[in-house]
Amino acid sequence: MSIASDTITEKSGYKLHVVRTDKYKTNTLVLKMKAPLTKEDVTYRALLPYVLQSNTSKYPTTPELRSYLDDLYGAGFYVDVAKKGEYQIISFTIDIVNEKFLSDSTPLLEKAFGLLSEVIFHPKKNGEAFDAKTVSNEIRSLRQRIQSISDDKMRYSATRLVEEMCKNEPYALEASGNLQDLETITPESLFTYYKKMLNEDEIDLYVIGDIDEKEVEALADKYVSLKERVPVSPPRNTDKDVDKEKEIIENSDVKQGKLNIGYRTNVAYGDQEYYALQLFNGIFGGFSHSKLFINVREKASLAYYAASRLESHKGLLMVMAGIENANYKQALEIIHAQMNEMKQGNFSEEELDQTKAVVKNQLLETIDVSRGLVEILYHNVISGLDITLDDWFAKTERTTKEEIVAIGQKIQLDTIYFLTEAEVQG
């Protein structure tokens, strides 16, 4: 039996993915629009979903649109802009109660499709431009959101590492855009971009819940109409030979130093070695049994958080730890030592088995949440592959210690970034 797979139907201009399950009290629609991450478009794409979710031609003010959502038993409606590898992905999510749990039995799924269609295809506009007031409100709101990233020092430090590490690569761009470009956007230019996006993005619609596939397809045909397109894929940009490691120390008014380290793994989602990389990361820093947690936190008492994670579609491994400003050198030494242990294969079969078990557990838990399931299934859209979860589990299970050590040979330290209050002795 396959674990949580989707039935995919090619439609004009998009793919429809349906997952039938009766475990939720709601039905979920997620529409994803994907395009390469570029300097020209990044801020347009960061702004656009927020303008679209503000109002529509039928519901011209936010209170009118939101009152309609409330009437649909508080349908959840969210937008999001994210970076996955060198793509920027816009998501629209509607989560609506399945009426079988209500005393009122009005069918709600069709209303959800209608709403999605209204938001995406029928914005409030003024000729060939978005409503000017809406755009200026959302520009202001996005400006504050961009600024708030640097107000959150943990996030700021992680962002600065990527900026420095991936200088001159599209990946250095932030999914939330930048302030300079934001000030140049007009209601007209945004509308022009919107039409381009509708015509050119790679679009996927996921529908999850206790639903009938035929009914969903009929609703999709009724409410979603898009032109055929050939989506653009940028060339693979995950491999890099580091010629010189960078160390960047910046000062800020922080009580705790934020240490972030980036490595190039030269392996990405979809590669045969990806399963070994995932386990490498798990033994090294992904969990509370990992080397970083044990050595930086439990043994040396240097940190509350000390962990690593993968940027699967870009082939990066990122370490983060919050430490006393004065403990920079010591923390760095311990982290380097753990990486060396990994590269030399100094980890036990027991650590490997433990990590296989928790990686599998983590995946199974993720797909218990409908939005988590969509994220897992969407990996295949980004990578252009068709890897089932069963495959993923089987290959993880079969991975050997030798394969993990071999991954270690491909991993290179690229950049160390430290945000600190004190002067650090070079």
Binding site: K23, K25, T26, D70, G74, S103, Q144, K153, A357, N361
Partner: protein, 428 residues
């Protein structure tokens, strides 16, 4: 074992009180991969003044000790419990709130073994001077991390403004100075006082077999030989109804200012259905004024006083209750005044009409049903409700019965100048 059926929600809940007093609940969920269990003691950061087990006098313990104890319980003579959970393919965690300390795990295999690990590690403390000292460094970094977080500082700044005496104003993790005083003996004293099964609740949710799971727990508890223990006596200083401070400004390294308004509630010694109604009605009241469907929200947004970070919430437990309203704002003074204005006018009914009430009730019912998709939500909230003698599954029926009079009465009771305060984070 009793079975409680919720027909409309298509859920069944099983309950048994163990001989040693432990309350156990099991909610089977078919179709899910994950099982989830929480083991919670009714002991949080506010419980800092009490009669320790077998003693006649009240004593005070250092700020942050409940949270410190939570950290230390994971460590055993032969290593830490995180290791054991991950060997069994589970992921474990814990948290300390104002009123509770919860230990939890989730797993997609080996459920019985993981459940036994959870119960056994919580019921078998091992504290030593050496590991207590070591933990001070780790928790010190946790405290520093929160000190750098402007949203957290704003949150506790607002609560500290409201309370003169009540320990809810103390940061849950304490301070670097207060935790320095913690010793292994104090940890044992708190443990022995608050971790008796009769002060705890175990909640299991997931694709589990009810009979065999209940038996496993029953056998486990019967083998441990707990002796009966009287209810813990806690002491709280008299708390005035008014706020301690009506205004506080924190200067931090931020670009966008932040504003939070706090409203301190009165008559906070309710429990059961009274508390449930008060909490739900107050949240409906806030939603009617400040939700995205409200014209008042629209006005604040159009004027550039708020952005997407704007939020509001009301919470109440035995002895304290408050509403918090705020978010990022480039015009903190204007926002503060506008919020005070809206709240004052609501006393006369402005913004509170029947149509918007019915819509807001529908919305809340929908979001409640949506949250039942989450095993974590069910386990955590059910426990919180149970500790306050409320039933989580009564939410829909209480919401359906709320009237516009109820909401207007909330406005009249809640809003008063001397019980409101504001905290702002401003750029240095």
């Amino acid at each position: 074992m009793e079975k409680i059926a919720f027909t409309q929600l298509k859920e069944e809940l099983f309950h048994e009180k163990m001989e040693n007093g432990l309350e156990v609940y099991i909610l089977p969920k078919k179709g899910f991969n994950k099982s989830f269990a929480t083991f919670t003691t009714k002991y949080g950061s506010i419980d800092n003044h009490f009669k320790p087990l077998n003693q006649k006098e009240f004593s005070k313990v250092p700020d942050g000790i409940a949270h410190f104890l939570e950290h230390k319980l994971f460590e055993k003579e032969d290593g830490d419990v995180f290791q054991q959970f991950s060997k069994q393919g589970a992921s474990a965690n814990a948290f300390t709130s104002f009123t509770r300390t919860a230990y939890l795990f989730s797993s997609t295999s080996d459920f019985n073994r993981n459940l036994t690990t959870l119960i056994d590690f919580v019921q078998d403390p091992y504290f030593s001077e050496k590991t207590v000292e070591k933990e001070k460094g780790i928790i010190g970094q946790e405290i520093n991390m929160y000190d750098d977080n402007s949203d957290w500082r704003l949150y506790f700044g607002t609560i500290a403004n409201m309370y003169h005496q009540h320990p809810v104003k103390i940061d849950i993790a304490g301070t670097v100075e207060s935790i320095a005083d913690i010793t292994k003996d104090m940890l044992y004293e708190c443990y022995n006082t608050f971790y008796h099964p009769s002060n705890m609740l175990l909640f299991v949710v997931g694709p589990v077999d009810v009979e065999s799971t209940m038996k496993l727990i029953r056998d486990n508890q019967n083998n441990k030989g707990y002796k009966e223990q009287a209810e813990v006596e806690r002491k709280f200083a008299e708390e005035p109804e008014t706020v301690a401070k009506d205004r506080e400004i924190l200067k931090m390294n931020v670009q966008t200012p932040k504003v939070m308004l706090g409203i301190k509630a009165t008559n906070v010694h309710q429990s059961g259905s009274q508390l449930l109604k008060r909490e739900l009605a107050t949240n409906i009241y806030l939603e009617m004024l400040f939700g995205k469907s409200s014209p008042l929200h629209e006005e604040l947004y159009e004027k550039g006083l708020i952005d997407q970070s704007f939020s509001y919430d009301y919470t109440q437990e035995q002895g304290f209750g408050f509403a918090l309203i705020g978010g990022d704002s480039s015009k903190p003074e204007e926002l503060t005044e506008a919020l005070f204005g809206i709240l004052q006018k609501s006393k006369a009914g402005t913004g509170l009409n029947e149509e918007s009430l019915q819509r807001t009730i529908k919305k809340r019912i929908g979001s409640f049903l949506r949250s039942l998709n989450s095993p974590e939500y069910i386990a955590n909230q059910f426990t919180r409700y149970a500790f306050n003698d409320m039933n989580l599954f009564d939410v829909v029926s209480v919401l359906e019965k709320l009237t516009i009079e109820d909401i207007r009465n909330i406005a009249k009771d809640l809003i008063s100048d001397e019980r409101m305060t504001v905290c702002q984070v401003l750029p240095k």
